[in-house]
């Protein structure tokens, strides 16, 4: 490959890496170096397999071997550094001899978004079927209806499985985390946030055992919670009690961050704008109350979606 070709590749936003037939890296463009956090010097003669993680490593090795042996170009899906790519591996040939391989990673965001959207749309018919089954079950009474009830209950169990699989599909599409507009388990977020701060302060979690899922981006909620906890610890809170419960009204989930203190009122505290933004996006109402005898409670009231997926 000559200098001009390399310069052209350097301007591409698409990550590209070039390897020798032996499977070692020779050159990568800046987009690749940024994505994989490597510099040109680190890259020289480094086995390509070392650059990729998990299942991707195996697929890259396979593709390079196939292409080096004179096979056709290889295309496959790859997940690297939290993004989805279509990898295209092709040979650089001089005459009929393969002198190198080019690996190009094309981001497949559009396709992913379409799949995410389909997965979200699945929820609506599932919810509708559940409502119909619920009402059928209510209308089926008496001993002679036992068999019918049994069948409806079977159908409801199957529906639950579809819901579970749909949820898993969502998780897979989002790479294991929650995706925008997905539902999330606030309790897990609280638990993780608590684990993170457990080394620097006394943090306890008081929560009801099963709580409804909340609509929104769980990752951002968890981040906001962690920031709020951090702010309070930095402001001098030595003991925090995190709470999560469903009040009698049942239409909201109350998440609380309680700073337990006695003797003097806790100092004024304003959560950063980016935290307020995240909470606002989730439709959360935030109220803070302080009492010199008890401490301060910051209460987040999160709307519970109509059809709950506990």
């Amino acid at each position: 490959m000559n200098g001009m070709e390399r310069t052209l590749l350097s301007f591409l936003d698409t990550p590209v890496v070039i390897g020798d037939p032996g499977g070692c890296a020779v050159w990568a463009n800046p987009a690749f170096e940024t994505l994989f956090e490597v510099s040109g010097d680190d890259l020289q003669e480094r086995p390509l397999a070392e650059l990729f993680a998990g299942g991707g490593r195996e697929r890259i090795l396979h593709a390079v071997a196939m292409v080096s042996e004179g096979g056709e170009n290889q295309r496959f899906r790859l997940r690297e550094r939290g993004s989805d790519f279509e990898a295209v591996v092709s040979a650089i040939e001089v005459g009929s001899e393969c002198v190198g391989v080019v690996i190009l990673l094309k981001e497949t965001l559009e396709q992913l978004e379409r799949l995410c959207s389909l997965q979200r749309q699945l929820r609506e018919p599932i919810d509708e079927i559940e409502i119909v089954l619920d009402s059928l079950l209510e209308q089926t009474g008496g001993r002679r209806s036992e068999e019918h009830r049994g069948r409806i209950e079977d159908a409801m169990r199957s529906l639950e499985r579809i819901r579970k699989w749909s949820g898993e599909l969502g998780d897979l599409l989002s790479g294991g985390g929650s995706m925008p507009d997905e539902r999330f388990d606030a309790l897990s977020c609280l638990r993780r946030a608590m684990n993170r701060s457990a080394e620097v302060a006394m943090v306890e979690l008081l929560a009801q055992p099963s709580l409804p899922a909340i609509e929104g981006d769980g990752g951002r909620f968890e981040w906001a919670l962690s920031r709020m906890i951090e702010e309070r610890i930095n402001a001098g809170a030595a003991r925090l009690v995190l709470g999560a419960r469903l009040p009698e009204t049942g239409d909201t989930l109350l998440v609380s961050i309680n700073e337990i203190a006695e003797g003097e009122p806790p100092g004024a505290l304003a959560d950063p704008p980016d935290v307020r933004q995240v909470l606002g996006d989730l439709g959360a109402q935030v109220v803070s109350v302080a009492d010199p005898r008890l401490g301060r409670s910051t209460l987040l009231s999160l709307p519970v979606p109509e059809r709950r997926n506990a």
Partner: protein, 526 residues
Amino acid sequence: MSRVIGIDLGTTNSCVAVLENGQPTVISNAGGYKTTPSMFAITQDGKRLVGHLAKRQAITNSKHTVYACKRLIGRRFDAPEVQKSIDLSPYDIVRGPNDDPRIEIGGKAFTCPEVSATILREMKRVAEEYLGEPVSEAVITVPAYFNDTQRQCTKDAGKIAGLEVLRIINEPTAAALAYGFNRPGEERVAVYDLGGGTFDISILEMSDGVLEVLATSGDTFLGGEDFDRRVVQHLLDTFRESEGIDLRADPMALQRLKDAAEKAKCDLSAREQTEVNLPFIASGDDGPRHLSIEISRDTLERLVEDVVSATLKTVEVCVKDSGLQPGDIDQVVLVGGQTRMPLVQSKVAEYFGRRAHKGVNPDEVVAVGAAIQAESLLSDEDSVLLLDVTPLSLGIATFGGHFARLIERNTTVPVRKGHIFTTTRDNQSAVKIRVLQGEADAAAENDLLGEFVLTGIRPARKGEPEIDVSFDIDANGIVSVSARDLATGKEQSITVNATGTLSDEEIQQIIEDQELYEVALKEGEE
């Protein structure tokens, strides 16, 4: 010199033993139990529970309690056993970055070796408390059918738990060792292992210290828990009939019923009749309701008869696979607590035409065997050492998708074998070696253990280069492969690491995370 312990890392329960003055001792935990439930849980407030404590809250905290992780270890996420576990388990099983199943509890995704390590660490702790000294080495048992990846992952679990795993041995081998079947001459033994969550049957032939598994079969989703479930169902139905209250949706009631059912089942192995008493099991409009139901051994046998018959069908297939007749078996060994049930004992005796060998506790026999093996590894005398065989054939994928066997199943391990391969195209400069384990002729139908690429082969016409591929299976059943181009001398070797196993860095990271956690726990406790 520090002691080496033997650990039976079971699907449902685990057990640890050590040899003291030549005699095996099964070590009790702080609660006085000799077996510890293979369960790991994270409670609402983030507490990590292992063993009995985890079991006590398994139903009320079912989403965050892991059991039967052994069914998942070393398998790919898409494997049928994993998919079935996903359907049956209340906890979430998600796809890991290496295509491995991961268990999501308490807001964290755990690898299977990590979960198994929590159980192993508990067993290590139990042993250390008893011995009064640190323990750093162990022999761990695995089912005879475990492939390389599953063994490798079990070894990783040991490493995470702070144990150097001196040897991985097969469970039926350990059972045979514990029963003292190590005499000169030939003996054919059937090991009927009905544990909490799995059923295994192995037909072994012992000849001059070499133990060969003639056939092995089983069901990874059948065990003592099926018996418990039947009893719980019976109690639920009886209570609903008499009181008109359905307890199915009440986790607290189910937790109590499950514990009581297990106890009643054990009682009925020794007695003809028992009573289940659970006061305040529910609240009715007119006050509390108590459950009090009598169960007879006959009732229990009627409830589980089909489950016992299902095990015998598997036994029949296994005996047929071994090429033997039931009457050819010299000894029948019972393993697993469920084999205490008189119905199981009588059905097995009826099938083989002989009563099972007595003398060792079926819950503890595998751990005892592991401890005997541990001791023999330390001592100079190797007279008690049994030699295992590889349970599955090992080979590589060749042109056209065929599977070339390099080491046939039932070959005594350790073993090393090599074979010369060549290229299929002119000027082919690289070859990919795909290492497989299994019995199918089509490569795709066997388990892929791993693959690597041998590059830099000198340009030549197809068929000319000579590549020497050699396989090593060590005494643990763990595979390593090397490939050498005989013309250039270029060599590449790997310890086969399937995608489901953890890298050394990942293991180190997990160990560090856990050390951090342990510090946090102690501070919290103070």
